[in-house]
Amino acid sequence: MLEVRNLNAHIGEADSVTQILKGINLSVQPGEVHAIMGPNGSGKSTLSKIIAGHPDYSVTQGEILFNGENILELEADERSRKGIFLGFQYPVEIPGVNNAEFLRMAYNQRRKAEGLEEADPLDFEEILDAKMKALDMDGRFKERAINEGFSGGEKKRNEILQMAVLDPALAILDETDSGLDVDALKIVAGGINRLRGPSKGIVLITHYQRLLDYVQPDFVHVLSGGRIVKSGGKDLALEVEKLGYDWLVK
């Protein structure tokens, strides 16, 4: 469903250009869970943002196909409505905008794009309540402004809630496990496992093996210096955990 071919990308303009991705190839099929690991600054977050359509990065070479369609020219919101979801490492705070209203708007945008009827506030509340219960989230989440004053763990859970509501075909989760204690990690992993299924693709970007104990990946890739330096099965993650990245980076 996702084909990344020879992706080269940079950030910045004219004389201050930084090349971040240097020929990435990645193929995710329905039903697969891929983990992307790598040291700080290797380009993991950049890769996820570029797939989601962040306007700050320029793709200089290569292509990204989603269900056979080149999506590089599409705006981020169009990509989202086609079923791509990005869970942020650092979700932004948006003061004044109600969390539940935001979720309903996102949900209805998706429904509209699929030619389905939009949910009214009451219907949506039912959908939302069920998803929140599964993630053990307090009802007050609905009343609060988006991520405003949320703890790190609350923000991450909010990301998983959004994913659950939007039910995307492809979910890319950027360090969703960082900053979580074990209980929160289990809840978040539960949310990811609930999404998992024969029609879904999941890409987990992570620093540590820890999340992979709860969400077993089918493939593991190690990203370093803007390139995928090694790919393998779930055992690769264990090796990385044991040996670090140095032996792969050289």
Partner: protein, 493 residues
């Protein structure tokens, strides 16, 4: 009557007058109405003022009021301290009286030019009995003249007077003589003096003691003639223990010249009375790409809390006008009286706004709060200017001010000019201010959830303005949100 200064300007009937901007952007109120107009020649002198007064058959005290204001105006200079720039206005090149030609006295709506009724219908303000809003009474002002006031009978049953100010001058001269100019004196400022000299119509409201006005009252202002100025005058008096909620809306056709709008609004509350005054201002703001045309909105709005425990609350949503110069203020005379100011001012294109409030605390234990939200996009400039003055006898008084600005894009600017003067040590004044920018990361966050950029901006801005929108009556809050979204659509690069 000085007939020499009267001339018939019927040239607008039929075709579109020269200078009307066609097509283009999305100001949907930018049409003109072909009606036969009657006006005096351009320019201002004592004869024109006498002619206006005579034409309206006014009592002597009002003519004197006008002449006094005019003499004062001649000695005054246009204020230049506001953070706005515009070419000098030629006050002799303005029509000071423009009215739809009609029979001298209207007995019913069937005598109003059907074109005008159609205009208000297109604006969403139906005036005829069957279609009018059931819970809102409307006074419709077309150029200089009030053309219709609805629901009069029902209001009269409660003793509420709601009519054009011209009518009030004839029917209730003692109220007019007592209160007109009592809040904004004839020589208060340059534009107020000009208004006092030449105002041609506006609305008058009187709520009798102990009465809660049974419905929302509203005035709808429409400038139609290209070279006319609009100088309307509104006076609202709330007697002891009474309450009214009043709404004001404004639109104008698109011309590539500028029109001057110099209104005066005076509010008076006696003991325990309350006035809630809400404005949604959407005058034509000029061409968003060139800055050509648009309304100069130079308005003086002031309320006097004369009585004990009385309250005046201003809520404004300013989304239009090429230039806005406007400071709805409260003079808190009565002990324990309360003044409030809630404002959203949104500028885009080449608009300039210098707006805010004055809270003058004179009585003991008086309270005021100010919440101002400024949003600046494109090449616009948006300034908050506010004065909080606590008099030396106003002990135990409190003010809270919060002024937030939000920038959209890189070429706009926001400014805050707070003035605080405290005359005694037993009072408390708090001021908070912030400036923020809609960040690319916030927009990306929305977009990554499938919400298009424009809707994301509109959601963020509406969230930013929520504290003010909450103050508006329900239907108007919805209207205001839509208006803001519409205006913002083209502001984001």
């Amino acid at each position: 009557m000085d007939d020499a200064t009267l001339k018939n300007a019927a040239s607008q009937a039929g075709d579109t007058p020269a200078g009307v901007v066609k097509g283009g952007d999305d100001y949907k109120y930018g049409f003109t109405t072909p009606v036969e107009m009657e006006s005096f020649g351009k320019g201002l002198n004592e004869d024109v003022i006498r002619a206006i007064s005579a034409k309206k058959n006014e009592p002597l005290f009002l003519l004197e009021f006008r002449l006094k204001a005019y003499k004062k105006w001649l000695t005054m200079k246009e204020p230049n301290w506001a953070h706005v720039q515009y070419p000098a206005i030629d006050y002799q090149d303005i029509l000071y009286f423009a009215a739809p030609k009609q029979k001298p006295s209207l007995t019913g709506l069937d005598e109003v030019d059907p074109e005008i009724l159609k205009t208000f219908e297109r604006l969403g303000i139906p005036l005829d009995e069957q279609k009018r809003l059931s819970n809102v009474a409307v006074d419709a002002v077309f150029d200089s003249v009030s053309v219709a006031t609805t629901h009069k009978k029902k209001l009269m049953e409660h003793g509420v007077i709601f009519c054009s100010i011209s009518e009030a001058i004839h029917e209730y001269p003692e109220l007019i003589e007592e209160y007109l100019g009592s809040v904004v004196p004839v020589g208060d400022n340059f534009y107020a003096a000009l208004n006092s000299a030449v105002f041609t119509d506006g609305s008058f409201v009187y709520i009798p003691p102990g009465t809660k006005c049974p419905m929302e009252l509203s005035t709808y202002f429409r400038i139609n003639t290209e070279e006319s100025g609009q100088f309307e005058r509104t006076l609202i008096v709330c007697a002891e223990g009474s309450y009214v909620s009043y709404l004001e809306g404004c639109t104008a056709p698109k011309f590539d010249t500028n029109q001057l709008h110099a209104a005066v609004v005076e509010l008076v509350t006696l003991d325990n009375a309350e006035i809630k005054y809400s404005t949604v201002q959407n005058w034509y703001s000029g061409d968003p790409k060139t800055g050509k045309g648009g309304i100069y909105n130079f308005v003086t709005k002031r309320g006097k809390c004369l009585g004990k425990k009385s309250k005046i609350s201003w809520t404004q949503v300013e989304t239009g006008s090429a230039i806005t110069w406007k400071y709805p203020s409260c003079i808190l005379v009565g002990d324990e009286s309360v003044g409030e100011f809630y404002s959203v001012a949104m500028t885009n294109g080449f608009m300039q706004a210098d707006t805010g409030t004055k809270m003058i605390h004179l009585g003991k234990n008086t309270k005021s709060s100010i919440i101002s939200k400024g949003i600046a996009g494109d090449n616009s400039s948006n300034a908050y200017r506010g004065l909080v003055r606590i008099g030396k006898n106003a002990t135990g008084s409190r003010n809270f001010s919060q002024c937030d600005s939000m920038l959209v894009g890189n070429r706009s600017s926001a400014h805050t000019f707070p003035y605080i003067e405290t005359g005694n040590s037993g009072s408390q004044v708090e001021h908070e201010a912030s400036t923020s920018k809609i960040s690319e990361d916030q927009l990306f966050y929305f977009q990554s959830r499938g919400i298009p950029r424009e809707e994301a901006i509109s959601m963020i801005v509406n969230g930013f303005c929520k504290d003010v929108f909450n103050q508006l009556p329900m239907e108007f809050a919805v209207e205001a949100q839509k208006l803001l979204a519409m205006k913002l659509e083209n502001s984001v690069g």
